[in-house]
Symmetry: C2
Subunit: 252 residues, 2 copies
DNA sequence: CTTGACCCTCACGTAACGGTAGGCGGGAGC
DNA sequence: GCTCCCGCCTACCGTTACGTGAGGGTCAAG
């Protein structure tokens, strides 16, 4: 029922120092002290800490969190509703960032320069732009980087050249099929579209059919991408786009 | 081709002071200066800033970002891959947090106490736990709270009582249908399951069929939830769960 | 040639802790 | 009963990533 700082810290994934700090500034003062001055946290304190952690994750400054939690107008359920809402907004924003990265990656592959707008629009400051914060705890340091590095960046220079070679090989075969007069929804074209998708998945990121059709739309909608493909062979952008769509429909 | 601090700051959604700071610590030094000492940023500088912003959003400390970006072993494409990966991990974690909130909300509605474990396991520090950071820029202050408040917390005490009344009314009618001997996949039971889903959507959060079946599973898997429903009427937890599943299958 | 917006370099201030020092308390093993 | 070590306590200084002026040049427009 009553816990010590150490226990609370361990359970909640924060340091003892953090709890001391929250006590100092009055954000979370334990409901009682032992005879010898030890802090004693009860279940209500834990619930408060839970809300604090969520609001912190959402980037609220401590002072503001104190104001929110001490606002008599909002009960615990209201906090949960608000956190749910804010988390959803934040997830949507991160998903936009993922899309932006995918866009930047395609541009990078095809040597297409980005406008400053395109580089940063995802950080757009004018609207539902939430702030985030720490949560780090134990893989601070370069750990996050190393971990991701182990998975994603274990490509050597040789791998990179192989990737380029595979892409060029795919390009040659695609142009062949296109020149053969086969329609964009022919099995041959769709197979190459599927191969295109799997090349992305193997070398860059998990490319779902949905994401793939997104790329296809971009190839015809953005003139710089269109130009890139048209230079390889006129009509290629539209042809590739249609092949990708057909492939997604029949396979998904 | 060459931009001033102000232009870059505006485009990238950071303050001039931030760019000064990045220059001071050598994280992003503009490629040149004008005759009168003005900083001039070119497109390569913008690309670097783009990566900085993404890594910052992912919570990397500036020093680490400098090390990563200056690592000759990783090209721009590698950074994009890594950012894509880390963002995906982060999104998954936030989605877990959303689920945890939904769980906490159900528990709160039914007056079920949470264990410390359950309160904080989503902050679990032992594994893919990424750190996040700012991004705030212009709706710092209490703006985020207010905005969310306008949408989600405009319920008055009266509304809250109405919600409770609606819930109790739903409960009564559900017990009736159950007592009538109608099977859990009967239209009457499914209609009440659907109503249950819409009550959540109206009062708490957008409850998809998928989320709803998740709740249904929890009602039978977690003994505390089961006990709550069993006390209303024996067999209710399983019956309600089945009705929700049937409803989701036929409507979705 | 003035005015307002924009740039420069200090330089101190702040938030949210991290880390360590110096000292008390408590229970387990001798 | 004594020792040991671990966990708790209260300061107090350090750090990161900027915020916020102060004091003073600059540049394009009118």
């Amino acid at each position: 029922m009553a816990h010590t700082v150490g226990q609370v810290a361990k359970a909640a994934g924060v340091t003892v120092r953090t709890l001391h700090h929250y006590d100092e500034i009055g954000l979370l003062s334990p409901s009682g002290r032992s005879g010898t001055g030890y802090r004693r946290y009860d279940d209500a304190d834990l619930e408060r800490l839970q809300h604090i952690r969520y609001y912190r994750e959402l980037g609220f400054p401590l002072e503001e969190i104190a104001a929110i939690l001490d606002d008599p107008a909002s009960d615990p359920a209201a906090h949960l509703r608000r956190q749910h809402e804010l988390l959803s907004v934040r997830i949507r924003k991160l998903q936009e960032m993922v899309t932006a990265i995918e866009f930047a990656m395609e541009a990078s592959k095809l040597n297409i320069p980005l406008t400053p707008q395109e580089r940063f629009e995802v950080f757009g400051d004018f609207d539902p732009d939430v702030h985030a914060e720490e949560a780090e705890q134990r893989w601070g340091g370069t750990e996050a980087y190393r971990e991701s590095n182990r998975r994603v960046s274990r490509y050597t220079k040789g791998d990179w050249l192989r990737n380029k070679a595979e892409n060029e090989d795919w390009g040659r075969r695609f142009v062949e099929v296109m020149s053969s007069g086969a329609p964009a929804d022919s099995p041959a074209a769709m197979d190459l579209a599927e191969e295109h998708r799997q090349l992305i998945s193997r070398w860059f990121y998990e490319c779902s059919y949905e994401v793939h059709t997104g790329l296809a739309d971009m190839y015809v909608a953005d003139e710089r991408f269109t130009a890139y493909f048209e230079k390889i062979k006129p009509g290629m952008a539209a042809y590739l786009s249609e092949a990708i769509h057909s492939n997604a429909i029949t396979r998904a």
